[in-house]
């Protein structure tokens, strides 16, 4: 029996049908009934079944003892310790001496109770979330423009639009299902256009009609220029502006002053004038335009202004609130929006109510019946950890997130946690970079085990449902929080017996004293967020709840689009133009740090890889941390593709493999965010990122840190494949990669090896001198290769060389599927290539069907394939999640170019 639940990855919020398999894994497929994805899943979602095993799970509460080690304890002991410590610190230093740092991966109900505990009972607003890192500029922009944190449109708008503008979004990789909906709509109607604004030429650009490789951080110039252009070209919807907005003059003035001349805008943004004007003209002429923006916009010291500069253009042209148009913030986490709904940010209260407003506070406190309510904003993520570092916050409870990896200036986060009196971490995995600093570990339920609701990027509430039993002693986050609250002495307010009761309380709060707009009852406050229609669900109704977009009317009907009536959440009902003054990122590159570091996600991984790193089919696409850079910059920095480089900023450094992806502007480098100390020796890009935040939203400037890149000189490179995980200590550089039947380690070291053979045996843990051990050695060049077999089955192999050009890993990896190696394969083992080259598939392109680059190129050549669809027809590649389709297109172009050369 399949259970309908929701994918725990990006903010698209796809429906998943999941079923537990007897072996502890799970079978998943897309839920055809879910409106977000209609049955489709991206490769990450499709691989969810491979991530639910219990290996590495945190299953029991633990306390760090005097010896510095973690010891398993009973729940009572762990909860008493948390409650007691928090109580003691609050009594001694006041409520603001404690803090909560939570996550967009918590369910709405979990979020609700922890927010209630902090703001209503402890009386501090020191509760912030990792959504601060990806979404908060959009939140701030929405609030400034619309008066409330609201995404006006829905995914359907993207299918109905004539023009889609993707700003700072690599949707093809990061929001694949939404991107496929766009791509499909585009295929069906040729006149639809896609513009991608991104300093990198990402996979998303493969499908674009126009790519604007904008200079990092200059988005406000671009959109101010657009605003001025639209006004000048008469594209303003004057009736809409007059009736429903306010503040055009100042915004326009600012835009014209800074960006009135497209030629100058093009210069500042580093664009061709013709391209810029093409974009402006398309925007001016397409009534149905959707501007989809994401982290490339938000993660900036002027992120909020960027958001408003985009919204300004939509307001000017009246393109909002109607089908096929509007600004559209697309989020990175499955429940970023749900968290915001219940108030999980340090600068909001709950249910879209504000901390600073006494009426709002009264609404919440009276509803809760709580002893107190926080009345001023708490510490936002970056400030919070600075406060911990300075000793102002003495206890922090981290839930479902890994700030030592994900925050900027992450080495300072380490220092802060190291000196923090009490670090509590609720998590599902036992070893994370953050866990190393925790005094109390609390095992939480993971996806598949927990139950509740999430809200996706189009305001759609969906249920996450359990289909697996709770493992070990793990508990739902809300239960843990309620237990601690009770032990802190808050006997009322946390007596929930079932998650359904929390949801109802939340839903009732959204409707509580929620007036119609224009109502002048000063006791009531109008909010778009209103779940009145769900506030009376019984438990059965909650369990059977189908996806619905808020606001949910009393009759249970959802709302796909907001602001159709032109009525906004500001007191006067008008939307606001915001005068956005363009400014460059805070830290400019200089002689010492001449390059600009950009960070982001890759196609097959998610966040710090605690789940996606478990799925073998997700690790093949980009297995190693890398720094993608322009070949000219590489030359200037003295680094070479395939070798290792150190990326250094004023705040920290990391090491990664140099790569020329082809999509990077000279002057910029790109490093993915996923690798932690659990998966690589030194690849936490968070340690490099500058701790600069947007002054309004507090969102860090992840997309712009001045860095230098220098060679990371090593004496040898290598890799090993082994059936067992190895103790990765020793090499100066290592990355661990999970394969189907093996662990792969990429390694490199600064010191030469005296005895390669002995080192290799030690690394692989082979002590038996009579072991079946094959080796190849070219001692004078330092090439060494060995394989270890048991009963003709490969157990491990290791390849070392002074240069990074080692044999391809795919074929060797495939040998781990064989129960017995035949003589031909054995003879080929140490060259790392099959005797018959046709057996080598090349690096993975389609993770879903495991189709390699070489297979695809051969087919393109041999069969004369010219469309991704024809490749799919022949090899299945691209036929499932479709996220490799942009790469298929690239491969077709490459093979054809070779053929014509």
């Amino acid at each position: 029996m399949s259970v309908a639940t929701t994918c725990p990855y990006c903010g698209v919020g796809c429906g998943v049908l999941a079923r537990a398999a007897p072996d502890g894994s799970a079978q998943v497929r897309g839920d055809p009934a879910h409106p977000a994805n209609a049955g489709r899943l991206c490769v990450k979602g499709a691989a969810l079944g491979e991530t639910v095993d219990l290996q590495g799970r945190l299953l029991y509460p633990a306390l760090r003892g005097a010896d510095g080690a973690l010891h398993q304890v009973s729940w009572d002991d762990a909860l008493d310790r948390v409650a007691g410590t928090f109580r003691r610190i609050i009594d001694a230093h006041g409520p603001d001496a404690v803090a909560f740092y939570v996550s967009g991966q918590l369910l709405t109900e979990d979020y609700y109770v922890v927010n209630k505990l902090a703001k209503g009972y402890i009386g501090t607003a020191n509760i912030d979330t990792n959504s601060r890192l990806c979404m908060s500029s959009a939140v701030a922009g929405h609030k400034r423009a619309f008066g409330e944190d609201v995404v006006p449109g829905c995914y359907e708008d993207m299918e109905q639009a004539e023009l889609i503008v993707l700003v700072g979004s690599n949707a093809a990789w990061c929001h694949p299902i939404v991107f496929q909906r766009i791509a499909k709509a585009k295929e069906q109607q040729a006149n639809r256009r896609l513009v991608v604004i991104d300093p990198r030429r990402t996979a998303t650009c493969e499908s674009a009609d126009l790519h604007l490789p904008i200079k990092p951080g200059t988005d406000v110039w671009l959109f101010n220029g657009l605003l001025a252009f639209l006004f000048q070209q008469g594209a303003m919807d004057a009736r809409f502006v007059d009736a429903h907005t306010q503040g055009l003059e100042r915004a326009l003035e600012a835009a014209q002053a800074q960006a009135g001349d497209p030629a100058q805008v093009a210069r500042i943004c580093g664009l061709q004038l013709a391209d810029l004007l093409a974009f402006y003209r398309w925007f001016a002429s397409c009534e149905r335009t959707v501007s989809v923006f994401s982290q490339g916009v938000n993660q900036s010291s002027s992120g909020t202004d960027k958001v408003n500069s985009i919204i300004n253009c939509h307001l000017l042209a009246g393109r909002i609130g109607k089908p096929g148009m509007g600004p559209f913030s697309i989020t990175g986490q499955p429940n970023a929006m749900g968290g915001r709904e219940v108030g999980g940010l340090a600068n909001v209260l709950a249910a879209h109510l504000e901390l600073a407003d006494p009426v709002h506070r009264d609404i919440v406190q009276s509803f809760w019946g709580s002893p107190r309510v926080a009345d001023r904003a708490g510490l936002k993520a970056v400030e919070l950890f600075q406060a911990i570092d300075e000793g102002r916050v003495k206890a922090v409870w981290i839930m479902a997130t890994n700030p030592v990896v994900s925050l900027p200036d992450a080495d300072r986060v380490k220092r802060a946690l190291a000196r923090c009196e009490c670090v509590v971490s609720s998590d599902v995995v036992s070893h994370t970079d953050t866990q190393a600093f925790a005094h109390v570990l609390l095992p939480a339920l993971a996806w598949g085990e927990k139950d509740g609701t999430v809200t996706n990027s189009e305001r759609r509430l969906s249920r996450q449902r359990a289909f697996l039993p709770a493992p070990g002693e793990a508990r739902a986050d809300w239960r843990i929080v309620c237990e601690v609250a009770r032990r802190m002495g808050f006997t009322q307010g946390f007596e929930f017996r079932h998650v359904h009761e929390i949801f109802l309380e939340h839903a009732r709060l959204t409707a509580h004293r929620n007036a119609e707009p224009g109502c002048d009852d000063s006791h009531r406050v109008h909010r778009q967020l209103n779940l009145e229609g769900l506030a009376h669900l019984d438990r059965g109704g909650y369990d059977a709840m189908t996806p619905v977009q808020w606001p949910v009317q009393a009759n249970g009907m959802g709302t796909s689009r907001l602001f159709a009536d032109g009525c906004y959440a500001h007191a006067d009902g008008r939307a606001r133009f915001v005068a956005t003054e363009a400014r460059m990122p805070v830290h400019a590159p200089d002689r010492e740090y001449p390059l600009v570091l950009n960070t982001g996600r890759i196609r097959d991984q998610w966040h710090s890889m605690t789940r996606t790193g478990k799925a073998p089919r997700l690790t093949g696409h980009l297995p190693e941390p890398f720094v993608d850079m322009h070949p000219h910059d590489a030359l200037r920095c003295g680094v070479r593709e395939g070798e290792l480089a150190r990326v250094r900023s004023r705040w920290g450094a990391m090491v990664a493999r140099v790569k020329h992806g082809g999509g990077i502007l000279a002057g910029s480098v790109f490093v993915p965010i996923h690798w932690s100390d659990q998966f690589a020796s030194d690849a936490r890009v968070g340690g490099v990122v500058n701790p600069v935040v947007d002054p309004v939203s507090g969102e860090p400037e992840f997309k712009h840190t001045p860095v230098s890149v220098e060679p990371f000189p090593v004496r040898w490179y290598g890799f090993s494949l082994s059936r067992d995980a190895l103790a990765a200590n020793g090499p100066s550089y290592w990355t661990s990669i999970r394969g189907e039947q093996f662990r792969r380690y990429e390694i490199a070291h600064r010191e030469p090896l005296a005895e390669c053979g002995r080192w290799a045996r030690g690394w692989l843990g082979v002590t038996d001198p009579e072991a079946d051990w094959l080796e190849y050695e070219d001692r004078s060049t330092g090439v060494y290769r060995a394989a270890y077999l048991i009963n003709d089955r490969i157990e491990a192999c290791v390849f070392l060389a002074p240069r990074p050009d080692l044999p391809a890993r795919q074929w060797l990896a495939s040998l781990f599927d064989c129960e017995r190696l035949d003589d031909v394969d054995r003879a080929a083992l140490l060259i790392g290539e099959p005797a018959n080259p046709a057996e080598s598939t090349g690096p993975m392109v389609c993770s879903c069907f495991g189709v390699g680059r070489r297979t695809i190129c051969d087919a393109i050549r041999a069969q004369g394939l010219d469309t991704p669809a024809s490749i799919t027809a022949l090899l299945r590649a691209g036929g499932n999640c479709g996220s490799c389709v942009p790469e298929l297109r690239q491969l077709i172009a490459q093979v054809r170019a070779q053929a014509n050369a």
Binding site: G642, W773, D778, R779, P804, D805, L806, I831, P837, R854
Partner: protein, 399 residues
């Protein structure tokens, strides 16, 4: 062998140029000495190793005298005299007397039952002994010694192989390959006494055993001495031709007497003497071209390759397999499968190869050594064989 190959080449190049007379000490036609080991081990019969039987000579008008060695050369008159009193004049004389097994000058080395391993007669002798006797000692851990020991063992004898050094085939392979070879031979039931000096042979009218330098002794009904060969230059020396270790020849295989040529294991070219077949074939070709009066070829000593002819032991070595200063090694070891491969590189070239267990690419490596091919581009693939070094359309870059 070298002599008759020269005759063959000569008949190809200039049929009818000479009237040819062949004298041979053995009572057989020309046979393939390399295959004596196979004859001993029973894998080939005497007929099967024959290269040229008497009718072959008759068909070509060659005057053949078997079992009748030349005993005197009268160079002034240009005539030869055989043991049976045959006398012939010559315009050109070709000496191909080959080599003789070294007989250790030890007490008892003349006892019956102490033999060499050189001819069909030696093999017949051993085969006879194998039928009646049980214990054999083979002295010498070179190619011949190992082949003899293996052959006798296969014939059912208890064989002890005695070698001075602790490395078998120390002229052909390195310590590692030798170790694998030792294990293999032991698994076949051979006893090995390495690092062992032979002191004497004892026996009453016939050999009964061997005494070693350390005083230990071992009983034996047959002793095969395979401690090397020496060019057989006695006849040439007696006729006043200039000889050192062997009959000294120039690059055309001519001796100091312009009417007299010599080929094969009896000659010394520059400083080298020969014990393998490949140089003999090359010498035959060069010599024949001069005898045929084309005179356009020169013999240059080349590196040689060796193969051990023991069924089930694949061993190949070529060139400078010891290496040392200025050389670099590529080594592949798969002990479980009994495979060991080593290439010795100098600069950008392969100069030596030792292959054990998998010798399929031996010939190719030998070509690379001979042609001094620059292997820089395929260095990392070289030891995995020719198959992997063919230029590929897409070399399959790393991931």
């Amino acid at each position: 062998m070298a002599g008759m190959r020269t005759v063959e080449e000569l008949l190809q190049l200039a049929p009818g140029l000479y009237d040819i007379t062949v004298f041979g000490a053995e009572p057989y036609g020309n046979y393939n000495r390399i295959l004596l080991s196979m004859m001993l081990s029973g894998e080939k019969s005497a007929d099967e190793i024959m290269l040229h039987a008497p009718p072959w000579y008759a068909e070509r008008g060659i005057d053949l005298h078997l079992g009748d060695p030349v005993v005197r050369i009268d160079r002034r008159r240009r005539r030869v005299h055989s043991s049976k009193g045959v006398e012939r004049g010559y315009d050109r004389l070709l000496i191909a007397t080959g080599s003789r097994p070294v007989v250790l000058p030890l007490p008892g080395s003349d006892l019956p039952g102490v033999i060499g391993f050189r001819s069909i007669d030696d093999v017949e002798h051993m085969l006879q002994a194998a039928q009646t006797c049980r214990r054999a000692v083979v002295i010498g851990g070179g190619l011949l010694g190992i082949e003899a020991a293996n052959g006798l063992s296969r014939r059912g004898m208890q064989v002890t192989l005695v070698h001075r050094s602790d490395v078998l085939l120390n002229q052909q392979i390195d310590v590692q390959a030798s170790g694998m070879l030792i294990r293999n031979l032991q698994q076949r039931g051979l006893s090995l006494r390495l690092n062992t000096e032979t002191a004497s042979f004892y026996g009453n009218g016939r050999v009964e055993g061997v005494t070693f330098a350390d005083g230990s002794r071992i009983d034996a009904d047959l002793v095969v001495m395979a401690v090397g060969v020496r060019p057989d230059a006695a006849l040439a020396k007696a006729s006043g031709l200039y000889c050192e270790h062997g009959i000294v020849v120039d690059d055309t295989l001519q001796t100091y007497d312009p009417h007299v040529y010599a080929v094969g294991e009896c000659v010394q070219h520059r400083r080298a003497t020969f014990g393998l077949v490949a140089p003999a074939w090359e010498q035959a070709l060069v010599c024949a071209s001069h005898l045929a009066r084309f005179g356009h070829r020169r013999y240059r000593a080349s590196r040689t390759a060796t193969k051990l002819k023991v069924t089930g032991i694949d061993l190949y070595s070529a060139g400078d397999f010891i290496g040392g200063a200025g050389t670099e090694d590529l080594v592949l070891r798969d002990p479980r499968r009994g495979i060991y491969k080593r290439l010795v590189l100098k600069g950008r070239q392969v100069v030596g190869a030792v292959l054990y267990g998998d010798i399929g690419d031996g010939g190719w490596y030998f070509d690379l050594i001979q042609s001094a091919t620059d292997i820089t581009a395929m260095r990392d693939r070289l030891l995995f064989g020719k198959h992997y070094c063919q230029p590929a359309a897409d070399a399959g870059a790393a991931a």
